[in-house]
Every structure is written in C-alpha cells, then in structure tokens.
C-alpha cells in the first residue's frame, strides 16, 4: 500500500500524534495535548467567545449586575485581531467545561498579550477557587505594576514565581509551565526556550478548581491591554515546541516580543 498523503505531505506509521505527540512542522502550533485555544481571529463580537480546541464557550461577564452588557470590545492593534480589556468585563467558562481543561497536573500556558502598563495589579488568568483561593489551586496569573506577571498554584502554602518584565506598548508572548508534584514552574524568556524560575512550597498536586476566567480573578479585573490568544496544553511543551509556538504567532505578529 502506498503512503498516506495529506496535502503534499507523506505521513508514515512512525509519526506520532496525540497527547504526547510531536508536531510535524516548525511553524505550526503544537496540537498534542492542546486543551484550550481562545483566538481573537475567530471572535466577531457578542457575549460568547468559543475556544478552538474543545468548543468551550466563554461568556462575557462583568463585576456587577447585569453581567453581560459591556463585553471587552473586539478591535485590532497592529492589524492583529484582539479583545480590548476595559477594566469592566472578562470571560468565564462554566465549571463543567472547565473540567475539560484540567490544570492540576503538567501544564503549559501561553498568552499573546499587548501590554500597556497597569496602575494596579490585576489577575489575567485563573481557574476560580473551589474551597480554596484560586492561587492555592490549579493556577492564578496576576499582572504586576512593574510589568511582570506573577503566578501561583499548588496548595494552601502555594508555589509562586514571576516572569521577566514585559515590553510596554508591544505584543508580548507570555509562556509558563508547571510539571510534577513539586509544581515546578518556569517561564519563556527572550526566545531562549524555558528558563526555570520558581519557588516551591507545596509538594502535592493541587485540588480541582472551578471556572476558567480570562481577564479577571482574585486581584481584580484587567484594566487595560489587549489579548489575541490564550492557549493551554496538558503537558510541558518541549523547548523546540515552545519556540515553535513563538514562531507560529510571530508569523502573524511581526513585532511579537518573546
């Protein structure tokens, strides 16, 4: 039997796909284990934003009743589609859908974020706390006023780490990972692959958290900036793969800061 041809590519039986699979093309987003991919490329407005990995619907909410009247507007910055954080609204999945993005174990999170600087700390991503605070469970990521992002997970005595300072008034790729029961975390720095940077205090897997929130959490709603994409994998991407993620987004955002 001849080889299987997809487009012009020959796929052999030795190629591996799935949760531990390796992507085939260096300019392609790694799909193995991709559990969440919110992309502003596919958001056209309205109160729902659907992820591309598992069709999870995120509902626009704000911090006071009525909860769905002032969505973060869709816009474009440097010709890049994005949602505009407006100090009012954020996006939230249901708790049931959040279970499809289990972040208790190994994870990689990537945000493509246009940073404008902030005057007070705001949480840009979290899984809502469920019996504990969000920063004591699966993951909470907070933008700091010194232009870095702190992130937390683990347990009552949670692990913590901070990223490098991001470039203001530019598109930035924020990438972090965590592996193992020691919740080792690290960031993607300056295009050099992963850099370990963590403070480990918990040594067990976190308890299961609840709803996924983008643009809001325990430290408040994001006041400014723009989001093009939010991706979660259920494993630590390899150095080659995280570099490919940068190459992939850099192909549509030429000035993306790694």
């Amino acid at each position: 039997m001849g080889p299987l041809i997809i487009n012009t590519t020959s796929v052999s039986s030795g190629d591996v796909f799935g949760n531990t699979g390796k992507h085939r093309f260096p300019n392609e987003l790694p799909f193995g284990g991709l559990k969440l991919y919110l992309s502003a490329d596919t958001y056209r407005g309205g109160p729902y934003w659907t992820d591309l990995a598992q069709n999870i619907e995120f509902e626009s909410k704000n911090t006071a009743n009525p909860y769905n009247t002032t969505q973060t507007p869709r816009t474009e910055i440097d010709n890049v589609p994005c949602i505009d954080f407006n100090n009012t609204s954020y996006w939230e999945s249901t708790a049931t859908d959040a279970d499809k993005v289990d972040m208790r174990y190994d994870i990689t999170l990537v945000l493509i974020y246009y940073h404008q600087g902030i005057s007070e700390r705001d949480t840009i991503f979290e899984k809502k706390g469920n019996g504990q605070q969000s920063y004591q469970q699966e993951l909470a990521c907070t933008l700091e006023t010194n232009n870095s992002m702190s992130y937390y997970r683990g347990g009552s005595n949670y692990d913590y780490a901070s990223t490098q300072a991001y470039t203001v008034n530019a598109w930035n790729m924020i990438g972090i990972y965590s592996t193992g029961t020691n919740s080792r975390v690290g960031g993607y720095f300056n295009g050099s692959g992963w850099t370990n940077s963590y403070n480990n205090r918990a040594n067990t897997y976190p308890n299961k958290a609840s709803n996924i929130r983008v643009g809001y959490g325990y430290a408040g709603v994001v006041e400014s900036g723009y989001l093009h994409a939010c991706c979660v994998w259920n494993r630590k991407l390899s150095t080659e793969e995280i570099n490919s993620v940068y190459t992939y987004f850099n192909s549509v955002i030429p000035n993306l800061v790694p």
């Binding site: 007070e120 700390r121 605070q133 920063y135 907070t142 700091e144 006023t145 010194n146 870095s148 702190s150 937390y152 913590y160 901070s162 403070n199 325990y218 430290a219």
Partner: protein
C-alpha cells in the same frame, strides 16, 4: 538584598477581611504583613514591587 514581592490578597479567614501582603524581606525570610484596608496594603505593595 532588596525585598521581593510574593502576593497580596484579602484574608477571608473567620470573616476578618484583613489584607495580607506576602514578601521576602531583606534577609531572605518570607513574611506576611497584615493591613486593615486595601489602601494601606496597596501602599506597601507599591514600595516592594519597585524593588523586585
């Protein structure tokens, strides 16, 4: 050694509602300082974050 910020949050334990700032002090010791309101906690946060 400069102080290093860890986290800031409201402590809901026993419905107290105090604000907590966690940080690492000049000697590398993890500390938790308690504040009666968010404004005082934010002032302390602003001091530490510029050193981080």
């Amino acid at each position: 050694m400069a102080r290093k910020f860890i986290n800031m949050y409201m402590d809901h334990t026993d419905m107290r509602g105090y604000w907590i700032v966690e940080y690492i002090d000049e000697n590398g010791i993890e500390k938790k300082d308690q504040f009666d309101n968010d404004l005082d906690a934010t002032d302390f946060y602003n001091e530490i974050i510029v050193e981080s």
